[in-house]
Symmetry: none
Amino acid sequence: MPDQSRRNPQVHQAILDATWQLLVDGGWPAVSVDAIAAQAGVGKRTIYRWWPNKNAVALEAFLARARSTPPLGNPVGLAEALRAHARHFVDLYVGTRLGTLLRELIGAAQQDPELGAALREHWFEPRREPLRALITDGDADLVLDLVFAPLHYRLLTGHAPIDHSFADRVVDAALLARSNPRESRSQADRM
Amino acid sequence: MPDQSRRNPQVHQAILDATWQLLVDGGWPAVSVDAIAAQAGVGKRTIYRWWPNKNAVALEAFLARARSTPPLGNPVGLAEALRAHARHFVDLYVGTRLGTLLRELIGAAQQDPELGAALREHWFEPRREPLRALITDGDADLVLDLVFAPLHYRLLTGHAPIDHSFADRVVDAALLARSNPRESRSQADRM
Amino acid sequence: MPDQSRRNPQVHQAILDATWQLLVDGGWPAVSVDAIAAQAGVGKRTIYRWWPNKNAVALEAFLARARSTPPLGNPVGLAEALRAHARHFVDLYVGTRLGTLLRELIGAAQQDPELGAALREHWFEPRREPLRALITDGDADLVLDLVFAPLHYRLLTGHAPIDHSFADRVVDAALLARSNPRESRSQADRM
Amino acid sequence: MPDQSRRNPQVHQAILDATWQLLVDGGWPAVSVDAIAAQAGVGKRTIYRWWPNKNAVALEAFLARARSTPPLGNPVGLAEALRAHARHFVDLYVGTRLGTLLRELIGAAQQDPELGAALREHWFEPRREPLRALITDGDADLVLDLVFAPLHYRLLTGHAPIDHSFADRVVDAALLARSNPRESRSQADRM
DNA sequence: CGTTAAGCGAGACGGTACGTCTTGTCTTCGT
DNA sequence: ACGAAGACAAGACGTACCGTCTCGCTTAACG
C-alpha cells in the first residue's frame, strides 16, 4: 500500500463521489471499477492503488454518507438509547438508498471476507460499542443482537415490514431479556 | 418455461450434483454456469432452459441437501420446539458447507430479488410456518424473528460465535418477550 | 484452437473488414483488439478465440488484400519474371497503405516470432517459391535475396527512394550474380 | 530540451547501463521506462527530460555498445573494404544480443519515424559513408544496398542463415554489378 | 556567501490496451 | 425433438505501460 501522504485528496473525493453517483443513478449493478473511473475522470490504476476492489470503494462511499448516523445527544439510559438507535435505523435504512446499499454491502461481504471484516470494524462495531458500555449486567452482545439482528434480518430477507412499532417491540424484548436472565426454563436440557 | 413433463430427470439430477460438487471443491466462486455445464456434461442451454440463472440452480442444490432439516418429531410445546429448532440450526449451519452456502445465497439474494423471493418461499417460510402455528398469543412473527434473526445475523456478520448456549439464550429471550408483551415501558414515547 | 468448422464466416469477415477499416482510418496505432471488436460489433473473446493477438488479425487482413499480388500470367523467362515481380512490388507497396502495413508487420514481427513465421510462410515464401523454380543453376535463394532484399531494405529504412529504375537495376545485379558466380575475386581470403 | 551542461553524467550512464542490463536479462519486452527508472534508481522524469521515449534510450544504449564496430584499419580497396564490412556484420550481429537489438530497433522504427531517422543518421549512414567514398563509378548507394540489404533482410526475416560465405557472395554480387552496369538487358522495357 | 534555479528520486495520476472471465442467447450437430 | 457442445455479444476484471505532473531534496551557478 503506497504512501498515504502523497495521495491527492481531490482525486480521493472524486472517486467516492462518482461511486455514490453511480449508486444513485443505477444502483449496485451500475458500479464497476471501469464505471467509477470513467465517472470520476480517473485512471483505473488510481482506484486499484488505494482500494483492493470495488467493494472497498463502495464501503467507503457508504460510510462517508452514513458516518453522521449515530444519534444520542444526551443518553439518559439504556432503554432510551436502544430505542433511539432502533428508530434511527428505521428512519435511515428502511426504504432508502442507504439501506439498499447496506443490504448490498452485507450481501457482497458473504463472498468477500475483507469486506466483512471492514464492515464489522467500521460499521457494526462503532454502533455497538457506545451501547455496549451502557449494558453493565448480563451479556451485552446478546442484548445488542436482540435489537440489531431483527432489524437487519428483515432488511435482508424482506419477509416482513420494518417500522417504528417493530423497532420498539424489539427493544422491549431485548430489555426484558437483560433484566430477566433465563429463569424461564429448566436447566435440565442445557447442553 | 418448457413442458416440465419432457424433462430428463437424470439430467436434472446431474446438474444439481455437479453444482454441489463445485461448491464442495471450490466454494461459491467456483460455481459458474459454464462450470456446472462442464461438470455435469451438459449444455449450458439445458441449464438455462430450466433455471433462470445460477443462483436458482444453487438454491435448488442447497434445498435438496437441506430439505431433511426441520426436526421436531413430536412437538411437546413452543419452548421445546423453538429450542430444538435453534440448536438444530447451530448444528447444521454453523461452520458447515451448508451454512456457508446459506450465507452466500442470502448474500446473492441482495441483488437478485427472485432469489430472495424463492428463499423466503422455499427456505424461510417452511421453517417458520410450523412454529408460527404454535404461537397462539402475541405477535408470532416477532417471536420467530427474535429466535431466527440473531442466529442468521451472526452467521452473516461473524461478529460473535454461535453455539448451543447462544441458541438457548436467544430462545429464552423470545419466550420472555411473548409472555410479557410491552408492559415494561410507558406508552408515552410511542410514535 | 477450437473447431474451425463451427466458425461463423460472417463474423470472421467482419473482423477482417473492421481491422482493415481501422488501418485505413487511423493506421497501425489505431488497431487494438478493443477497437477491432467495437468496429466489428464483436466480443473481444471472439477475436481471441481465433487469433492469438492483434498482429495475427492484422496479418490476415493484410494477406486478404495482398493475395491477388503475384502477377506473371505467362512467364517467358527468369529475367522477365524477376523484373515483373520487382516492378510489381514497387507499384503495390511503395507509398501505399499496403506497403506501410507490410513495413509495420515486418516491424512487429521483430518482437513476435509467431508473426515472423507466419509472414515467412504466408507472405515471403509464396512469392519466392514460383521464382525459385525458374532458377536452375546457382544459389536460388541468394539470387532472390539480391532482388527482394534491397526493395524491402529501402522500404524499411527509407534511406533512399524506390522506383522502377531501382527495381530494374536490382534485378540486373541479381541476374549478373547468377550467371557469373564468384569468379571476380581470389579464393585466397575465403574463410 | 534542457541545458545539456547541467546534466549529471553519472545518471546518464546509469540509465544506459540499466537499459542494457534489462535487455540482457529479459530482452526488449523487459525494457519499459518504468523498468529502466527502477533499475537505474532514477525518476522517470529524469529519463523523459533527456530522451523522448524508450526507443531513443535503447538506441543510445545500442550505439554505445556498437560504436566500436566499423573496422577497416587500412583500407586497401573497395573489394577488401566491403568484404571486411560484411564479415564484420556477420560476426557482430548474427546470433548476438546486439543483433537482436538491432532487429528490434529497426522493427520499432517502423512505427516511430524519429527512431527511423536517428537510426539512419547514427547507425546506417556512418557505416555507409566511408564505403561510399570508395565507390567512384556507378551508383554507390545501389552497390552498398546490394551488400547491406541482403544481410539485414535475412536478419529481419530469418528465412535463411547468414554466414561468412553468404557475406562473401553478396559482396561479389555487388562488385559485379558495379563493374558491369546494366548491359545485360535491353532498354526496351524501361519504364 | 547566500539564494535560486535547475537536476533529480520518487511515484501519483489520466489514459489506453491487454488478455481473461462470466453471463445469457443462439446455432449446429448428433441421436 | 432434445440435448451436448460451444460460438457469440457484451462488458467487467485486474495489470502493464506510457507520458505528464507534483512533491521535496540536493546541488551548482550566479548575484
